[in-house]
């Protein structure tokens, strides 16, 4: 599952209203989703199989799917419809889960850890729940895979866990899982001509309840946004030569009790 997100490094924010100007930056593929695709490509290289890339988003997200085709996906599906718009994570997960149902049997779903814009890390586990399959989040390493299942390492709590999952299942992967390969020029050219299937709400009518799509199917709403910078606490600003500043800083550290000797035994 891949999503196109605004380029966070470039996007412009209006710090007064906290709103972002989506037209100020190009859409890019969510970086973690490239790691997810790479997991699929590596499994395919050893065991065979087919990779389908799925994305829900506006029509321009097609470029992200084309990129996936160039990087090793066999099939690409873009879920786009006005009725899908305004979706929160529940409605997004529902729509993606319906599309996966419609596609039929699958072994493994790979998601990114999170998206740069939504940043919820929710869509993966919600899709797993809606499809009734187990999942492991925050996969740091794919240890092994067979035709029956996959073994992964995840640092989910205070421990490293090695999990063995049986297909069908879902994993979400961090950046540490692999280094996504770059598509070759030839693959890019081929992908330019390949077909990205576009599915609308009608296409899912066999498996879906339309009331659960988009804004209608979204229980959460953003009522307001604001800038996090408004609550600053600018204190004293000191200037001078280095000697002077070092003395002042020493005094500050003594005052706030930061010196080891004043905090007692810390070693």
């Amino acid at each position: 599952m891949v999503k196109q997100v605004p380029d966070i490094e470039r996007v412009r924010f209006d710090l007064e209203t906290g709103r972002l100007d989506r037209s100020s930056a190009e859409g890019v593929t969510n970086p973690f989703d490239l790691n997810a695709l790479e997991v699929g490509v590596q499994i395919k290289e050893r065991l065979g199989g087919r990779i389908t890339a799925i994305s829900m988003g506006p029509p321009k997200a097609e470029s992200t799917l084309r990129d996936c085709l160039a990087r090793g996906a066999d099939r690409a599906i873009l879920l786009t419809d006005r009725r899908f718009a305004g979706a929160d994570t529940l409605a997004t997960s529902y729509t993606l889960a319906c599309a996966i149902r419609e596609l039929g049997r699958f072994d493994l779903i790979v998601c990114g850890e999170k998206t740069l814009d939504g940043d919820t890390a929710q869509v993966g586990p919600e899709v797993a729940e809606l499809l009734g399959v187990p999942h492991v989040s925050y996969v740091e390493e794919v240890v092994a895979f067979t035709h029956e299942g996959i073994t992964v390492k995840s640092d989910i709590g205070r421990f490293h866990y090695i999990y063995e999952l049986r297909y069908p299942c879902l994993i979400t992967v961090t950046k540490n899982v692999n280094i996504p390969r770059l598509p070759t020029l030839r693959d890019k050219i081929l992908a330019r001509k390949a077909r990205v299937e576009v599915w609308d709400a009608e296409r899912l009518s066999r498996v879906a309840e339309p009331d659960r799509f988009g804004l209608k199917g979204s229980p959460t709403t953003v009522v307001k946004v604001f800038s996090p910078l408004s609550s600053g606490r600018r204190g004293v600003i000191l200037e001078g030569d280095a000697e002077e500043l070092a003395d002042r800083l020493l005094n500050v550290l003594r005052e706030v009790g930061a010196l080891k000797m004043e905090r007692g035994n810390v070693d």
Binding site: P125, E129, H135, H160
Partner: protein
């Protein structure tokens, strides 16, 4: 919300090896405050094996009632097994709000619970409030910490995951009494997932440090890091960093402070050569005292600093280290 049968708040009590994750106490503290304002109950749900003592601990931290699920199958966290027990409980007890720590365990579990109940889930909240009608007002960062969003949920329960270390843990009250309700466990024999191995994660823990000395892109060469590591050492603190130094491989990832690293809350945070991007501020703005050294007087870090030093850290920090050492030597001579 008026006219619905959902009422009260419930907190998910996260434990590993029978140790409650401290975010749970923070949630109980906030939950207590909101419950008292609304005049409703605060409960907790605890799953595990051999964790009964901890149930009392939850009561001492503010819970009126603890629903306890104890079984060998729940000894280790398994999102499917946990969900199979929590979802029926939420259906029966019908709390209006269900709070989960935004730890990796919480962020793996909460979406499954929310999807099963077809209810809304807000991730990674940094503040919570309620309005007169009992609706939960959820505040969370969006777009990688560049903006904050206020979110409402129209379905029940309203589920939210909440960041660790943004809320204050309550003082435990040993005299507090409450009710422990043992529940029959639904045992899932095969959840499709097996733990083959488990080993402790080692390494530095910035989140527990009292003093942190961090540096950023103001550092010119890798060799220069020792200057700042030495300051951390003489203060008995921990060395941290902004993201660029981690990305270029100079500093280990677990030392990164900020939105995609650690959120820290030390007594003293010293930022050297860090400009103060929204993503960095996100991770340290709640430190008790913030000290910044930067040669650019317009650097945004000064907007959150209690003490800002405008100057060259390459000159100031070595001088400071020398002065601290002199002072300590003098102190030792005296004793």
């Amino acid at each position: 919300m008026k006219g619905t049968e959902h009422s009260g708040l419930m907190v998910f009590a996260e434990q590993e090896e029978s140790v409650i994750h401290p975010v749970t106490f923070e949630l109980l503290g906030k939950g207590r405050e909101l419950a008292d304002r609304l005049g409703v109950d605060l409960s907790a749900v605890l799953l595990g094996y051999g964790v009964e003592d901890e149930a009392f601990n939850l009561i001492r931290h503010g819970a009126d009632r603890v629903y306890l699920f104890e079984d060998r199958s729940l000894k280790e966290f398994d999102a499917v097994r946990y969900k199979e027990n929590i979802v029926p409980l939420l259906r029966e007890v019908k709390p209006s709000v269900f709070l989960v720590g935004a730890t990796r365990i919480g962020r793996s579990l909460a979406p499954r619970v929310a999807a099963a109940l077809r209810t809304g889930l807000t991730a990674d909240c940094t503040d919570l409030d309620v309005d007169e009608e009992g609706n939960l007002i959820q505040v969370r960062p969006a777009f990688s910490g560049n903006i904050m969003a206020v979110i409402r949920t129209r379905t029940r329960p309203q589920i939210a995951t909440v960041r660790y270390k943004v809320m204050k843990p309550p003082e435990p009250d040993p005299k507090r009494r409450g009710e422990i309700i043992r529940r029959d466990v639904k045992v899932v024999e095969d959840s499709g997932l097996r733990i083959l191995k488990k080993e402790r994660v080692r390494g530095v823990d910035l989140t527990e440090a009292e003093v942190i000395v961090s540096c950023g892109r103001g550092v010119k060469r890798r060799e220069d890091l020792v200057i700042f590591k030495e300051l951390a050492a003489v203060l008995g603190g921990v060395f941290g960093s902004s993201r660029p130094l981690v990305d270029c491989g100079w500093v280990e990832r677990e030392r990164q402070v900020g939105f995609s690293g650690n959120v820290v809350k030390p007594k003293v945070y010293i930022a050297c050569g860090i400009s103060g991007s929204p993503q960095h501020l996100f991770g340290m703005r709640d430190s008790d005292v913030i000290i910044a050294i930067n040669k650019d007087p317009s650097a945004p870090i000064f907007n959150v600093a209690d003490y800002g030093f405008v100057g060259d850290m390459y000159e100031i920090v070595p001088l400071l280290v020398k002065k601290i050492k002199d002072l300590e030597r003098a102190g030792l001579d005296r004793s």
